[in-house]
Every structure is written in C-alpha cells, then in structure tokens.
C-alpha cells in the first residue's frame, strides 16, 4: 500500500483527508485509483488528454517522477507519493 500525501488545495476533494493509501503498483495506477475514489479530484490532476497537469508535480520519495520513469514509476508498500501543486500566496 503506497502512501499518498494530498496537498492542502486538493483536500477539499478528498473529504479533507491529508493522506490516503493505494494498492496501485505504479504512479499512474495510484493516481488513477485516487481519482476513481474521488471523481471531483480527477479534473484537477489530469488534463483533457489524460496527462498529469503541468502545475502539479508528482514525487516518489524525494524524487520527481520525471527523473524516474514518469507515470510508470513503480511504487510499493514503502513508497510515499507526494502530489505537489503550484500555490501562489504570500503578500495579501
């Protein structure tokens, strides 16, 4: 069971759960699993071509999946999958 860390802006789509578990064996299985369980999350993770959106990065452990095997990056029960979106707050 890979552990998925949900960022604050997306928690409103996961019943405010900060972490979730998935049986998926690759990143795409984990993310698809997640968007299947929480359908409102899907448009925020995937674009119209079903690619992961460009303002969201996915990490397995401390490494960006772009530096691994992209969406096919394997995960196991010890993996921590982080979803990191762009946030912009700071001044006002």
């Amino acid at each position: 069971m890979a552990n998925i860390i949900i960022p604050t802006p997306l928690r409103k789509f996961t019943n405010n759960l900060p972490t979730l578990e998935s049986d998926g064996e690759t990143v795409i299985e984990v993310i698809s699993d997640l968007s299947g369980a929480f359908p409102e999350l899907k448009p925020h993770l995937f674009d119209d071509q079903c690619d992961i959106r460009k303002f969201i990065r996915i990490f397995v452990g401390d490494e960006d999946i772009k530096a691994l095997d992209n969406e096919a990056t394997p995960v196991d029960e010890n993996s921590v999958v982080s979803i990191v979106p762009a946030i912009a707050g700071g001044a006002r």
Binding site: T8, F55, K66, A67, A86, I87, A88, G89, A91, R92
Partner: protein
Amino acid sequence: MSRIHNGAFETAGEVSFRKEELERYSRHLIIPEFNIAGQRRLKQSRVLVVGTGGLGSPILSYLTAAGVGTIGILDFDVVDESNLQRQVLFTVDDVGRPKVEAARERLHALNPNIRLIVHNRQLTSDNALEIIDDYDLVVDGTDNFPTRYLVNDACVILGKPNVYGSIFRFEGQVSVFNYRFEDGSFGPNYRDLFPTPPPPGLVPSCAEGGVIGVLPGIIGSLQANEVIKVLSDVGQPLAGRLFLLDALGFETRTLKIHTDTDAPPITELVDYEHFCGLDLSNDEPGVKEISVSELAELGESSADYQLIDVREDFEYEIANLGGTLIPLGEIDNAIQSISADKKVIVYCRSGARSARAISSLESKYGFENLYNLKGGILAWAEEIDPTMARY
C-alpha cells in the same frame, strides 16, 4: 555594481565597518564559517524584495537586521486592517498608508546603516528587467501567479538568483531558483518546477483561501536564511530542492527538482496576465450585473426578488446580506431553491464566484433571471454599509 563569483557576490575594494556596526553584527562575526568575511559580503550586496506583505515582513526585517547593505522594497499596495494578522512590519497607525513607506520607516528605525530603496509600483513586464538589473538577488514574496512567473523569467534572463517562498492556509513552499553553481551552470527555475500555472479560480489566493498568520513568518524567515547563505556563500543553498511545510500536521519534506531540458528557453518577458489566463476570466462573459447601489434601492422598494449567497458558511458568519446560503460547490444540488421567475441576485465576496455560479446555472439549467452583484459583499461594505466587516 557587484558581480557574481562562485555563487557569491564580490566587489572590488574593501568594505569597512564602524565600531557600532561591529558591535551590532558581533553574533555573526563570531560564527567561524561566517565571520567578518560573510558580513562584508552582506554589506556589499543589493537585494530586491518583491512584495511587502506576509512573506515580505519577516524577509525585510531579518535582512535589514542582518546587515544586507542595500535593500529594495517593492509593493504598490496600502496597509489594510486585514494585513495586521500576519504582516508584522505594520501597526494600526499604518492602515491606509503605502506599504513601502511604512516599511521603510520601520526598517530604518531597526537599522539605519542600511540603504533602503523604495519602489512604490507594481512590477510589470515593462519595468521588471530595469528594476531587477540593479540588484544581485531577488526575493519572491508576491501573492499571485502572474508576478511569480514575471519575477522568475526576469531573474532567468538577467542571471540573478530568485529566493522563492509561497504559502496557502497551513502549507508553505521554499526554494532557491536560478542559482549559479561554481561551475557556472544555473540550477532549476520556477518554470522547471511548474511550466504553466493552474487555471484561474482553481487554486485560491490567500485573500480567497486564507492563511494562518504565523505561516508567512516561518516561510519568510526560511527565505531570509537562504538569502543570507547565498549572499555570504556559506552552507548549501536550497537550489535544486523544494522544501515543503505542512504546519497543520507538522510534516516537512525536501524534494529534488531538476532543470527541464525540454523546456523552451526564457528569452523575453511576456504578458503574464494573459499567460495565467486572467485577462480572459476576470468576468464571466454575458453575465448580467447589478451594482450595490441598485441592490440598495431594490431593498427599499417593494420589488420581489431573491438574494443568494454562494460563499462558504464560515464566510457568512463574518458578514452577510441576509441571502440564502448555497456554497458554490453545492449549487447543483440546490437548484430547486433558486427561483426561476423573479429577479435573483447572486453574490459572494468579490463577485468572481457568483459570476461563475451564474454562468454555470445559465448554461446547465437555462436560468435567465440571475444577476451578479458587482464587487460582491466587499463593494457593499465599501459603498453602502461601512459598519460591515471586510475580509
């Protein structure tokens, strides 16, 4: 003008300190790996802090206290009552004053040895390169995507490091972008991490989504620490790494980020409002509007109308106009509560969410009697009822 050398900044000629300065900075001078050499580098450095708000407050305070020689303060806003929960540079007496002026006074009192340069203007594609070129390093303490991409691109074009921090509710991000390593190569920049911004409205700003007051204090202080490390050439800067803080669960992570070799090179500044889609979506096209003064007249007349509030319940408790509360996310489940016959005025905080609600209701269900309250409850507080709390 200083020049970049091995990631630090050196200027020809000796920088000296007066007795008062040596005593002020003595806790720096006795750190073996920092000492007077590090202090000298700080004194000869020029740093631009973009944004004088939640992040800018600790950044400016610590950089001024630490002895960075020249600090640029850039903001175009004035101090608002709602700033005081986290923008600790300002006091009640500053409300209504330009932030840069209030900040300069406070910082000068803190350390009169620092040269403070005030830029009471908005950073734009037309002025960014000229302003930033005068500095060695930029600190991003802004609050919106267009300015973040503008700061990033200008720093990449000019070869300046960009010390980035961003916050949302209980969550913060920090990194050092475009850092020049000893071999002359540059570390990843903001576009390597996020090539494009989210569509407007998807990720709320702090003004819309809120932020816990101490969080910018934490994240801004981490940015100030990175600035001092980069300028003085001590330690390992947070280049090629992204620090994340979840203050709610007290979880921290430091993730690796990489230069995107497929990304198009950044060679010129663009229209960042357009890049972020903001010029297209400020108002929903075709949505009918009503002004707050027209609504006030309607309220005094005998006309039959319905008022719908599409904010969240916790916002309703701060201030409301007595409308039926149907949060935007629940509106599809509450269609039967919305009149299809009489005039229906829909409102939110600023008018943006209510415009989206109307647009969606019109296209999905064919409503033709919906009017957006222009400027939302903020405009009502501004023009009609000054006793109402603005937030």
